[in-house]
């Protein structure tokens, strides 16, 4: 459960799954906050990379307190998203089109800016 809003999160998106999960499950003692630094670093990185993609659609992603993301467009509309699973869906609702990584026009722009 998210302590901030009381929303029940039943599933962890695969991109948020800890990569050393099986190692972690074997442990008998877990230190609170262990691995937080890696997790936060990964989130910051994810936001930076996502913004390279989202720029084409006029959207922007921000990390919110290391627990959620805020997705906003240029007209001032903002939405809270939990994971990448939600993000693509919310993003396509906000810009009224499917965000397609195979779309040639999108790829062309991406290559121009980050090629």
């Amino acid at each position: 459960m998210c302590v901030l809003c009381g929303e029940l999160i039943m599933n962890v998106h695969w991109t948020d799954q800890p990569l050393h999960d099986s190692e972690y499950r074997r442990k008998t003692r877990i230190v609170a906050g262990e691995g937080q630094r890696t997790r936060r670093r990964m989130r910051i990185k994810r936001v930076a990379v996502a913004n390279k993609i989202l720029a084409y659609y006029g959207l922007k992603l921000q990390d919110w307190n290391g627990s959620k993301y805020v997705l906003s467009d240029k007209k001032g509309v903002s939405n809270v998203v939990n994971s990448l699973g939600d993000m693509w869906q919310t993003a396509s609702k906000m810009c009224h089109r499917t965000l397609d990584p195979l779309d040639p026009a999108f790829l062309q722009t991406l290559e121009k800016t980050h090629g």
Binding site: W14, Q17, H20, D21, L84, G85, S92, D100, H114, G115
Partner: protein
């Protein structure tokens, strides 16, 4: 390994010898504490202590695609097994699920991974698909269910090899390799097979595929294609996760299977394994097991041009950290 219970899923078309194979391996003393869940239509007698029959019941989720359905019957049965085990009523080392011949394995995976209790108590270790050496080719030609079962499998067992010529089996193996390059193919006569093949950890491993230089032309746009690609530099895991989740969001239903080992610059690779929208929790291996250190990913897609996926990966190369190299692209031989 970890504190979760391993599940093996055995699929295969009607009459492909699933039950015969299972009956054999369950006789093995080492695997006697295996709970077997079978469907109610199974006719061949399975003589096993921990057997359960269930009636297939699917809950359709609104707005979901075909793969994202919940198998309520299975969820309940797996929870019941867990309850009995925790009350000390039954011994339990692993679970094996035998599906009906026409079942799509994707909802089974979805149910186990999406149920908040089950996902923390069980993990899918291996998906085995049985294929009859005599009639298998015919099934694959005529039944899309059969093709899907092969695409989703980690381990393929060609059964009844005693009924056909050696060449037929060899030819079949070659075609199966083209359809699903990520799966390991074994053969069994009379259901004789090493139980460790069935109860192994196929989901979390992938053998490197040797280069075959096999580029076949597109037969039909709606066809099934499999593509194997390599990356010679380490990939950025965060960026790869973004690209892949975006791809699955837009084209998940067409991606029958994704399986691969991704080099992220750490000691061991990350094993990635997915069926349509369903992605297993990525699994980090300790080392490369003596194999060459480069990422290899297999995509099996239906109705999607492999060249478009490649074009996308090329455009993303600076974000991902490495450019893709195509190993082979094949179209459905059936």
């Amino acid at each position: 390994m970890d504190n979760r219970i391993a599940i093996t899923i055995v699929t295969g078309f009607l009459g492909s010898g699933k039950t015969t194979v299972l009956a054999r391996v369950l006789k093995d003393e080492r695997f006697k504490n295996t709970a077997a869940i079978i469907n109610e239509f199974g006719e061949a007698g399975l003589d096993h202590r921990l057997i359960r029959r269930i009636e297939e019941r699917t809950r359709l989720l609104s707005g979901g695609c075909i793969c994202c359905n919940m198998r309520d019957d299975l969820i309940n049965e797996l929870k019941e097994i867990l309850n009995e085990y925790e009350r000390g009523e039954i011994p339990l080392d692993r679970v094996v699920i035998e599906t009906t011949g026409l079942a799509d394995p994707a909802p089974i995976l979805f149910s186990i991974l999406m149920d908040p209790l089950l996902t923390n108590r069980y993990f899918v270790a291996n998906i085995v698909c049985c294929l009859d050496a005599a009639n298998g080719e015919l099934h694959l030609k005529n039944n899309p269910e059969s093709l899907k079962q092969i695409a989703v499998a980690d381990t393929i067992i060609i059964t009844k090899t005693d009924l056909v010529e050696k060449e037929t089996v060899a030819f079949m193996r070659e075609r199966l390799n083209r359809l699903n390059p990520a799966a390991k193919v074994f053969q069994a006569a009379n259901g004789k097979i090493n139980p460790e093949i069935i109860f192994g950890d196929g989901q979390n491993r992938m053998e490197k595929i040797s280069r075959r230089e096999n580029f076949s032309e597109m037969k039909h746009a709606d066809d099934i294609h499999s593509m194997s690609i390599k990356f010679y530099d380490a990939l950025d895991w965060t960026s790869f996760g973004l690209w892949m989740s975006m791809l699955l969001y837009a084209h998940g239903e067409k991606m029958l299977r994704i399986k691969g080992m991704v080099d992220v610059g750490e000691e061991g690779p990350i094993v990635i394994n997915g069926v349509q929208h369903i992605i297993h929790p990525p699994h980090h291996l300790e080392d490369w097991n003596g194999e060459e250190r480069n990422s290899q990913i297999v995509f099996i897609m239906k109705g999607l041009d492999p060249q478009r996926v490649i074009a996308s990966l090329i455009a993303f190369q600076n974000i991902l950290g490495s450019a893709p190299v195509i190993e082979e692209v094949t179209s459905n031989p059936y």
